[in-house]
């Protein structure tokens, strides 16, 4: 290993001063800016979660009063949803990888990409200001008329923050769609694109079509609060349910904004660590698009008990169950990819396998909830909380961490310590399940969400959940430490430490500013892993840089 060196010139050392970062139009640097910002928001949201899990250790309200509790879970929800989960994979991994994966020098609109980060930060600062100014107590859902008329908290500032940050999503989605359409390298046909790109593309459709509706909804909340125009106010003849329809029209697809990019990451990791071509490429690709389309037809399943018409409920129930089909197609295809694969359990693969299991639980409980009769029973209980955390944390965060580990050598040129990676992946998996599985039972037994005082018989399960949360929180700190450590002390990775396929692995790590010295020409399908018998895994393929060089050949013309 002593001979391995980082490339002399790459995107990280091209320029060192602060402005070269703050005014960069390099998609890779913008991805790094996003990664730093999102890590900050992740820990802000995490601290709030730790605080209310502490409160929930006992049935009485002894740590915080209910007012503070409301603000804590709202802070957790708003920050995690709008300032971590929604941008997470697209803005960090998507920004970094999408142009490289299709063989482009940058996204189609580099300046818009930078603008999107500034909009995100402006929205984030407004949100932070709202938090410092006392926080918001409406829940992340901002239901009217509470949010417009009665809430005595910083609803305006928070709504404005999310409004502004929404435009960063729109710009990212717009950029990805245009880039995918117009910037592909010669030979990179649609069905040769890595499934990661398909996933980002499907996500971008939701960004572009969903986010503007959230923007106008939040603008209406602000106008209602400020000027009392009455659209959501029943006293003036307005309709509070209209708010719920508009809100969930975006916020249900937002769940797929979180999970589609994760699935995109999993579709890269699984073939690489099973050393097999993905099973059913086209099915996986089109199931992303199918999920994106169906996501716009299911919002009413959040409103089964709102008094919407029975027939609307039935239609929404039907479409919600239909989403299970493309989701299951993905799970089955990943499983089929694993079948007879030569599987190695490196950290990214541990996260990917964790994702598949947890997403399956989250998805299946979603089918329970799409059934109107069960939903009426468990609506607004911890069953819901557990269900969506299995999708958002068990799904999206696991995928994000898996992706960060998988592409860390590409982003930084250095390996993270593999042993610590595996340990923390296992700790996070255990901590996650201990936190959220008891919540399924709590919810099924009838414990409602969003209360800090609860009946005594729920205490054991709540203590289990809080204990799990502390393990989970600890698990998240470990990667933060060793990833930072690896920036200086990590082993030099070489261009392709995993022996993975894909254009991003053909360029040095870290890549040069314009990604490729010459535009690559693509001549074969994605995931062209050789047949199993031909190439057994090298004993220590992590350090085997020459193998990686060999594998550059078939993709180059």
């Amino acid at each position: 290993m002593s001979t391995a060196e980082l490339p002399k010139r790459h995107y990280l050392n091209a320029n060192y001063n602060v402005w070269s970062w703050l005014l960069t139009t390099d998609h890779k640097r913008i991805a790094i800016l996003y990664m730093i910002s999102l890590t900050f928001f992740f820990f802000v949201g995490g601290v709030a979660a730790i605080l209310f899990r502490l409160e929930l250790m006992t049935p009485q309200g002894d740590l915080v009063i209910s007012e503070t509790y409301n603000r804590l879970f709202t802070l957790h929800g708003v920050v995690m949803v709008f300032f971590f989960l929604i941008p997470s994979i697209p803005a960090v991994l998507g920004n970094f990888l999408l142009p490289m994966m299709i063989g482009a020098r940058d996204l189609a609109f580099p300046k818009l990409n930078l603008l999107s980060w500034y909009l995100f930060m402006a929205g984030g600062l407004l949100a932070i200001a709202a938090i410092i100014g006392g926080g918001v107590d409406t829940g992340w859902t901002f239901y009217t008329p509470y949010s417009t008329t009665y809430a005595n908290s910083q609803v305006m500032a928070m709504a404005l923050g999310i409004f502004v940050a929404g435009f960063s999503s729109i710009l990212t989605g717009l950029n990805f769609i245009v880039t995918t359409h117009t910037m592909r390298a010669p030979g990179m046909t649609w069905f040769r694109m890595p499934l990661f790109v398909w996933g980002q593309y499907a996500t971008s459709i939701i960004f572009v079509l969903g986010t503007p509706v959230l923007a106008i909804t939040l603008a209406l909340i602000a106008l209602e609060r400020g000027l009392g125009i009455g659209i959501f106010d029943p006293r003036l003849g307005g309709d509070p349910l209209l708010f719920q329809h508009l809100f969930w029209f975006y916020s249900h697809p937002a769940v797929y904004i979180m999970v589609l990019p994760t699935m995109a990451v999993i579709s890269e990791i699984v073939p690489c660590f099973a050393r097999k071509r993905i099973f059913g490429y086209r099915f996986v690709a089109f199931s992303s698009v199918a999920i994106a389309v169906l996501s716009f037809l299911v919002w009413g399943h959040h409103m089964f008990v709102s008094g919407q018409s029975l027939y609307a409920g039935l239609v929404f129930s039907f479409f919600s169950m239909l989403v299970a089909v493309p989701s299951a197609i993905k799970v089955f295809n990943w499983t089929a990819t694993l079948y007879k694969g030569s599987i190695s359990l490196d950290t990214p693969m541990l996260y990917a396998l964790g994702f598949i299991g947890l997403f399956t639980i989250g998805g299946l409980t979603g089918v329970f909830l799409a059934t109107t009769a069960i939903d009426v029973h468990v609506h607004d209980t911890y069953f819901i909380v557990a269900h969506f955390h299995y999708i958002m944390v068990g799904g999206a965060v696991m995928g994000y961490l898996g992706g960060i580990h998988f592409w860390w050598p590409k982003m930084t040129g250095r390996m993270y310590p593999e042993m610590w990676g595996r340990v923390s992946a296992v700790i996070i998996f255990i901590g996650f399940n201990l936190t959220f599985f008891p919540q399924f039972i709590l919810g099924y037994l009838g414990m409602p969400r969003r209360y800090h005082v609860y009946a005594e018989e729920f205490q054991v399960l709540n203590v289990m959940s809080s204990a799990g949360a502390s393990i989970l929180g600890f698990g998240y700190l470990i990667p933060l430490v060793y990833l930072l450590w690896s920036l200086k002390y990590g082993r030099i990775a070489g261009p392709n430490p995993w022996g993975a396929k894909g254009l991003e692995w053909m360029t040095p790590s870290p890549p040069p500013t314009f990604n490729f010295d010459e535009t690559p020409i693509v001549t074969e399908e994605a995931y062209a892993y050789p047949p199993l018998s031909d190439e057994p895994l090298p004993d220590d393929f992590l350090s085997d840089v020459p193998v990686a060089d060999e594998q550059r050949e078939p993709l180059r013309s």
Partner: protein, 217 residues
């Protein structure tokens, strides 16, 4: 005179790719705009469905002449905009500048008429809020609060439309100056093309607003 190649940014292969990207980007942006206005149209439709008589009453207080005039003005401005793009495509930038000036003037005429309408609404206390008063109702059976809701949608929809018009005239003014300086020719006219797309979009939004607010009684 600029040539095509000087406008190609480093990450594009050629001018055609850059033009395609810019045009597709604008179309996708317009899709987001459709969804943005779509949220408001949904709200309008819901409330109109609940209170048809009150909305008809509100509609009868609109200044039909001003609205009709504005529709004509905007449609005409879309024509001049389209002709301006065409003129640059056939390398007649001087004509394009004049057409863009006409577009600009028509845009301001629209905003002027809109401002006059707003002023009248203020004078008649038709602005939602504490000072709202319906005055003499054509249909005494309607609840004035529901008519107030109609006016809330009127100001919301036309207000956001007027905001888009303000942004539109600013951009048209900029591309007019750029055209006058000879920056565009048949080889390169991307900013003009996408400004045109935006202008037509704002025009089309009005084509929906006009019947919804002024014509349906």
């Amino acid at each position: 005179m600029s040539t095509a190649n000087t406008h190609v940014a480093h990450h594009y292969d050629d001018a055609e790719q850059q033009f395609d990207a810019a045009r597709l980007g604008m179309w996708i942006f317009l899709a987001t705009e459709v969804m943005f206005f779509g949220g408001m149209f949904t709200g309008y439709t819901t409330c109109r469905f609940m209170y048809p008589a009150a909305f008809a009453e509100g509609s009868s207080h609109m200044q039909l002449l001003a609205g009709t005039l504005n529709t004509a003005v905007l449609l005409l401005s879309s024509l001049t905009m389209a002709l301006a793009v065409r003129s640059v495509q056939v390398n007649r930038p001087a004509v394009a500048v004049r057409l863009l000036m006409v577009t600009l003037v028509l845009g301001f005429v629209f905003l002027g008429i809109k401002g006059y309408e707003y002023a009248t609404k203020f004078a008649e206390h038709h602005v939602p809020g504490a000072a709202f008063s319906l005055g003499e109702a054509h249909n005494p059976a309607v609840n004035p609060q529901h008519v107030e809701l109609f006016f809330a949608f009127y100001f919301l929809l036309t207000g956001f439309h007027a905001l888009h018009m303000l942004i539109g005239v600013t951009i048209v003014a900029i591309v007019a100056v750029q055209t006058w300086r000879g920056q565009f020719s048949s080889a390169y006219f991307t900013p003009l093309e996408i400004t045109g797309l935006y202008w037509h979009f704002v025009d089309i939004v009005w084509v929906f607003l006009f019947p919804l607010l002024y014509l349906i009684h």
